[in-house]
């Protein structure tokens, strides 16, 4: 579904990503691990269109993505979350979700001539929003401005937004960071639930325990390169990976 082929990207003299290739098949949960500075987020930015690449190829369902702006990539059905939770601060939680509705018609004419329709949402969209809010425990915050949300709620908003877009693939950047244990369990359940409904995931995280629990396949990165790939059991027992994660692998487990 998503194929990343031999991507290179450097910033000045620093080679952030050096020839990374990976493959995400439909309906799978693929993980990407690595220490700080391994190039995971750079790779994410390249794939989602926020950064250009110096060389390489990214294809999504056979179409070339590299060089396309983020809004075109998003329209193809790829949505990502951000490491630091963000949102549209002076818009309500519900509005934050509605912006992400697929097939939003943002042309001017219907806004003027079909005001009653344009200024409201369909029962269908409202139902979807209700379900998404419920799923991520945000129902009570529906009409609250996002700037008034607490950190955990903001984190949930990241996932709610991505789900609202009904994408074909979700790129989650450190979904477990800053999430407490109880919430993490429900997050894992939600990811599995979405996967069972046909969603595909590419997940970056530091938390090895979390990654091993949910992923079908893992790529490990270090210094801009993939050093190991395979099933979770294989990757966490790999010598190169253990070397990179020394000290932290034990405590995370």
């Amino acid at each position: 579904m998503l194929e990343v082929h031999d991507i290179h990207r450097s910033f000045g003299g620093i080679k952030a990503v050096e020839g990374v290739s990976l493959n995400v098949e439909k309906g799978r949960i693929v993980g990407l691990i690595g220490t700080n500075g391994a190039g995971k987020t750079t790779l994410f930015n390249v794939v989602s269109g926020y950064l250009g690449a110096d060389a390489g190829r990214v294809t999504f369902e056979g179409a070339d993505l590299l060089g396309a702006p983020p809004y075109q990539i998003a329209k193809r059905g790829m949505v990502r979350t951000f490491q630091t939770p963000t949102g549209f601060p002076r818009m309500t939680v519900l509005e934050n979700l509605l912006v992400f509705l697929r097939d939003n018609d943002t042309s001017i004419a219907p806004a003027l001539f079909r005001r009653r329709i344009s200024g409201s949402i369909s029962a269908e969209d409202s139902k979807l929003a209700g379900e998404v809010l419920e799923l991520f425990g945000l129902s009570e915050k529906r009409d609250v401005w996002v700037q008034d949300l607490g950190a955990p709620e903001l984190k949930m908003l990241e996932f709610a937004r991505a789900t609202m877009a009904s994408p074909k693939i979700m790129l989650l950047d450190e979904p477990a960071a800053g999430v407490n244990l109880a919430l993490l369990d429900s997050l894992v359940d939600t990811i599995f639930q979405l996967r069972d409904d046909g969603m595909t995931f590419l997940i970056v995280d530091h938390n090895l325990g979390f990654i091993c629990r949910i992923c079908d396949y893992i790529y490990a990165m270090a210094d801009g390169q993939v050093i190991c790939e395979g099933e979770p059991d294989h990757v966490i027992n790999d010598k190169a990976v253990i070397d990179c994660y020394i000290g932290s692998a034990g405590t995370d487990q």
Binding site: R90, V99, A111, S118, S122, A165
Partner: protein
């Protein structure tokens, strides 16, 4: 008494014209986040378009093009179209710039356009301006009734513009604009193309400001390059900050309030010498109100509201 009433109606008429400018600016700067310091460009273009189409041909001591003597309603529509067209030209070249650079560019365009009015004699009759332009109802009504009728027209225009701007604000288009204002990188993730949204809202604001320009000619019955200095832009910005940026009703009230504050000193009975001194205090009064508002109501008199979203069919 009647003359005082007419005087007050005159002030409210100019207030209505400013209210339209405020609603236009609020759409692009309050709902979307465009820091446009060139709203006067479209206002002036609209005014000159209106004059060149509706005025009689230039007399022997004047020089300006066209002077077709067309009906005023054609002039008003053309003013809107030209305002939008110039917005499209300016926007295409400047909207790819980030905030501060966009701000400087739009300010510069406003100044360049004013220089054109002043210096291209063949086009606009230059600084001498064009005088004795007929307001609506000149031939059909008494001067007093004429002023009241024009005010009624302007109130209708404000109502229509408020309706239009509000309709856009609550639509998915308006939501996309707010998303761009709040967080452009994230908005792109929602499939929103920043440029295509910014340029459309910029053109809508240009059309509305252009129409307001034609009304300004009704009010003044003359046109001079000096009427379109950058002050107008700053007045409109001040008005929407006082009224409540992001809130359409607030912006509209801000427009009226600004003009009332600005003209308030005219009510003082003063000798002509004193009047000149005191009139230079007008800006100071507005400035004082602006400071007070920012101190105690930093979001303006009416702040932006949390959107209540209605579900269709319920």
């Amino acid at each position: 008494m009647e003359s005082l009433l007419l005087f007050f109606i005159g002030i409210l008429s100019i207030g209505a014209i400013y209210a339209i400018l405020c609603l236009a600016l609020n759409l692009e700067a309050g709902v979307d986040g465009l820091w446009d310091l060139g709203i006067v460009s479209f206002f002036g273009i609209g005014a000159y378009t209106y004059v060149l189409l509706t005025a009689p041909p230039a007399a022997h001591h004047q020089a300006y093009i066209l002077g077709l003597g067309l009906p005023i309603w054609i002039g008003v529509i053309a003013a809107g179209i030209m305002g939008g067209f110039v917005a499209l030209l300016i926007g295409t070249s400047s909207l790819r710039l980030k905030r501060e650079y966009f701000l400087i560019t739009t300010l510069a365009f406003g100044e360049v356009i004013r220089q054109v009015y002043s210096n291209e004699l063949w086009l606009t009759n230059g600084v001498a301006g064009i005088f004795s332009l007929a307001p609506p109802f000149r031939t059909t009504l008494e001067p007093g009734a004429q002023q009241v009728a024009m005010f009624a027209l302007l109130v209708c225009a404000v109502a229509i513009v408020l309706w239009l701007v509000q309709a856009l604000t609550i639509s998915p288009f308006g939501r996309a604009l707010k998303a761009l204002r709040e967080n452009e990188p994230l908005a792109m993730m929602a499939g929103i193309n920043p440029f295509s949204h910014h340029i459309r809202v910029f053109v809508v604001a240009g059309v509305l400001s252009g129409v307001a320009g034609s009304f300004y000619v009704w009010y003044n019955t003359l046109i001079l390059p000096h009427q379109f200095v950058a002050d107008v832009t700053f007045f409109v910005w001040t008005a929407i900050i006082i009224g409540g940026i992001g809130n359409n009703r607030g912006a509209m009230i801000g427009g009226f309030l600004f003009i009332i504050l600005h003209e308030a000193l005219r009510f003082l009975p003063l000798s002509s010498n004193m009047a000149e001194t005191v009139s230079s205090l007008r800006t100071a009064i507005v400035g004082l109100v602006l400071i007070l508002v920012l101190r105690w109501r930093p979001e303006g008199l009416l702040s932006e509201k949390r959107a209540r979203i209605v579900v269709r069919g319920s």
